[in-house]
Symmetry: C2
Subunit: 340 residues, 2 copies
């Protein structure tokens, strides 16, 4: 077996730089998080860091750990436990990505070939389990029962969301509300936890905890809505993962939900053939995109995302003005306007 | 989708009765554990209890939760948290079984068709994740950081064992020591945790904790050695899972390790064809069993298992004589002499 393991935190920075201001603000803490991740995936079984670091090395936006670090500053947290919590959140996220790629049979993620495509499904399942277990080890090191309860519950909720999504696949009667519940469960909840988790260490008042929860939930919802839009709209090199994957897998995301309600009979037959029955011919993805464009789906999705973004911004209203508050508010627009 | 969920704790009892004395001793607590498991897998998404209860319903020996309950009595624990811990240990075990069946592509487990074979790999991966997350929720309810550290570390170690086993598959140079390290990691460690975990609640002296750890480790090692033997020796209806699975999957277990070191050139070519290259023809499993018999592998494996059994029994020497101590010592022989 060729040992590919050469972990280099710097390699992530290109992607993170796209989050410019936020990245600059937390850069010193983020280096500590990267170092801790590197330490935690070290193992006497070389195979584990090899597979795990494949995904960490490829980077990703690192928005969840950065959010956790910035919110620690907003809560005026002075200790070091936010480093653990930030790494823990990235571990939970990465574990779900590994299992996601098995479930979706994905070929590419973050611009590189997926682990399951190199090492097979078996290793992705087990290394995902390993990362999930390590996330629990990281939590327990924080030695705070309330923090543990929030994080372990978050982990269950994410998986419930993944299961709901699996069940809704190819089900054309899925409503926008059902879709929202799924993405809140699988995505927004971890954003909310990242945002509020440090407030349990600083023993912040409940209204501040709730404000951070609301900020994270709505930012996460906007983030996922845009992610699902970009699967139809982005250029592949910007997106990292392969554009059109959701379409091929018959995932019922917002672009499809809106299109289904605006299509004529001919278009509806097309969705039935492709999304419901999974019969996809060359050129069908381009055809799907042109229907979405014709039915003005993209514009309306931006309006939806901005709605959740506006709630997120207002949620932080109870915090005094500060540099960190300004940066957190700015990432809302950044998340909505990104092309990757 | 047909809703199969009809959880009936009584249905497990046939298997558990095989552990007679131990089962009778913990029966009241075990009913509480069964009830808690039932409560914890309830979910608004019907699909989750449906898949999860498929495996719980099929029963299994329930040796780990019974061990946990009996050892709580040995530690003179008076509270109710041992019910949580016992359920938590069964959840960790069941999660690994679900993922195991995906990895091994198993068709049968505990005498019934595996979940992955009914609902597909995707749902086994996700419901396994769900159970693993629920096990962490159960741990946090105990509100004891030391207990959490032991259990979360155990969970990582099990997965490391599974990964080591996957890597050793079809590798004929695997030594008996490497095999022992794998089974200690994937099996014995959870037995050790089941045995000792309550001693953290009773704040037992370290020598009692270590004694329980040693008892569990060695009992678990004997248990897994016999499990691996039965995959060649048992009658399928007794074993629950399909006999010959390890052979088909090229797993390097003790029967193969010993046979490889005692075979002549013709037999070695047979192992190379079947275990290393995975070329299995009708009748090959029977041929494998006859080589094991001819080379007296079975008898020597019993001697090996008894060695670990003896260490387990002696480990409890520092405890005063009691009914629970006697029952725990008796299960060692029961584990070794079972035919299922």
């Amino acid at each position: 077996m060729v040992l590919l393991y050469k972990y280099d935190p710097e390699s992530n920075f290109n992607n993170q730089k796209k989050f410019g201001e936020l990245h600059q603000f937390v850069i010193n803490d983020l280096k500590k998080v990267d170092f801790l991740i590197k330490e935690k995936i070290k193992n006497k079984i070389n195979y584990i860091p090899e597979v795990a670091s494949h995904l960490f090395k490829a980077g990703g936006k690192r928005i969840r750990p950065m959010l956790c670090l910035a919110c620690a500053r907003l809560c005026n947290y002075k200790g070091l436990k936010h480093i653990n919590l930030s790494a823990c959140i990235e571990f939970i996220h990465t574990a779900t990505l590994l299992h996601d790629d098995v479930i979706d049979e994905s070929k590419k993620r973050r611009g590189v070939i997926t682990a399951n495509n190199i090492w097979g499904n078996k290793s992705s399942v087990l290394v995902g389990d390993f990362l999930l277990s390590k996330s629990f080890e990281l939590m327990t090191e924080v030695e705070n029962i309330e923090v543990l309860k929030v994080l372990s519950e978050t982990s269950s909720i994410i998986i419930e969301g993944e299961i709901s999504q699996m069940i809704s696949n190819r089900n054309m009667s899925t409503t926008e509300d059902e879709y929202l519940n799924i993405i809140k469960s699988k995505t927004s909840n971890l954003f909310a936890t990242a945002a509020k988790i440090n407030s349990y260490l600083t023993k912040s008042k409940v209204e501040y905890k709730n404000a951070l929860d609301s900020f994270g939930m709505n930012l996460g919802t906007a983030f996922q809505i845009i992610d699902d839009l970009l699967d139809y709209k982005a250029v592949e090199k910007d997106m990292g993962k392969m554009v059109g994957d959701d379409f091929k897998e018959g995932k019922i995301t917002l672009p499809i939900i809106l299109a289904l309600r605006r299509s004529n009979q001919i278009e509806n037959n097309f969705w039935k053939k492709t999304i419901q029955n999974g019969e996809i011919n060359p050129g069908d993805f381009q055809k799907a995109c042109s229907i979405l464009k014709k039915r003005e789906v993209f514009d309306d999705i931006y309006i939806r995302a901005k709605h959740y973004g506006a709630i997120a911004k207002d949620a932080l209203g109870i915090f005094d003005n500060s540099k960190e508050k300004k940066i957190l508010i700015n990432i809302v627009d950044f998340v909505i306007n990104r092309s990757f």
